[in-house]
Assembly symmetry: C2
Homo-oligomer: 152 residues x 2
């Protein structure tokens, strides 16, 4: 592979990394004291994908080590935003349920994000998002598959 091509992918990942950081900061500025992006990500996932899954399922979905999830879930549980229950199908495992408070918080954060997103939309309209989203999803899937491959 030509060096310029390698550089092209580096540039891509670099831009993506910075956007991730900026959007994360944008979100965290609107979260209540003590909550960070991973907390919100869990709440959002539980609502969008359904709750009752195990911590390990969530760790895999977010591509983070399970120890990080343990920590994040502990924070959410301490605040009453999720409830952890024994998994009836597996004695080693647990199920994660979102509480009414968790739902309410997630909705209020999304509402608080609206103005920021509305400010982005004029310069980067929804059709432009739709134009790049399939490629990003494809790239994410490829990286994900790569991860488990030899030498990944």
């Amino acid at each position: 592979m030509a060096p310029e091509e390698t550089g092209l992918y580096f540039t891509l990942f670099n831009e993506i990394g910075i956007i991730g950081q900026l959007s994360r900061t944008l979100l965290e500025a609107r979260l209540p004291e003590g909550l960070l992006a991973p907390h919100f990500t869990v709440l959002n996932h539980l609502i969008r994908m359904g709750d009752g899954r195990t911590p390990l399922d969530l760790a895999r979905a977010f591509q983070v080590p399970k120890t990080s999830l343990t920590h994040t879930l502990a924070g959410l549980e301490r605040r009453g935003l999720v409830a952890l229950q024994p998994n009836p199908g597996d004695g080693r495992s647990k199920q994660v349920w979102i509480t009414a408070e968790g739902r309410a918080l997630r909705d209020s954060v999304i509402a608080a994000m609206e103005p920021a997103i509305a400010a982005i939309a004029p310069g980067f309209p929804p059709d432009r998002v739709e134009a790049i989203l399939p490629a990003l999803t494809a790239l994410r899937r490829i990286l994900d598959a790569q991860r488990d491959a030899p030498g990944g």
Copy 2:
């Protein structure tokens, strides 16, 4: 703004966040013991954009707090990969220079990344990178401008 549209941007940032995480993991697996993605990012930036800039310049370029940069630079200096010198133009400030060892390390890491990138290329070819890169750059610029705006 319609809720579906807000959700569209959330989906976008979500994909970007995961790709950022996966690519970061890919990179860190190829870094020597004790070095993390931010260390490499600094070395790469010093070579691509030129060295001799101040720590604060770098912090702004990466969108991280300056205290984080202090920490990252300390790690790089301890390993002899960069050199910090007093800024002749400003007694409070410093200049960051990359060393020969730093250059060599950066080059070897890029070489080590090549196979991983070559494995991505069949499923996500360079022309597809080029197709989405301008949009991502535009989005990054908008978010960057937003950051300093009121309520950003």
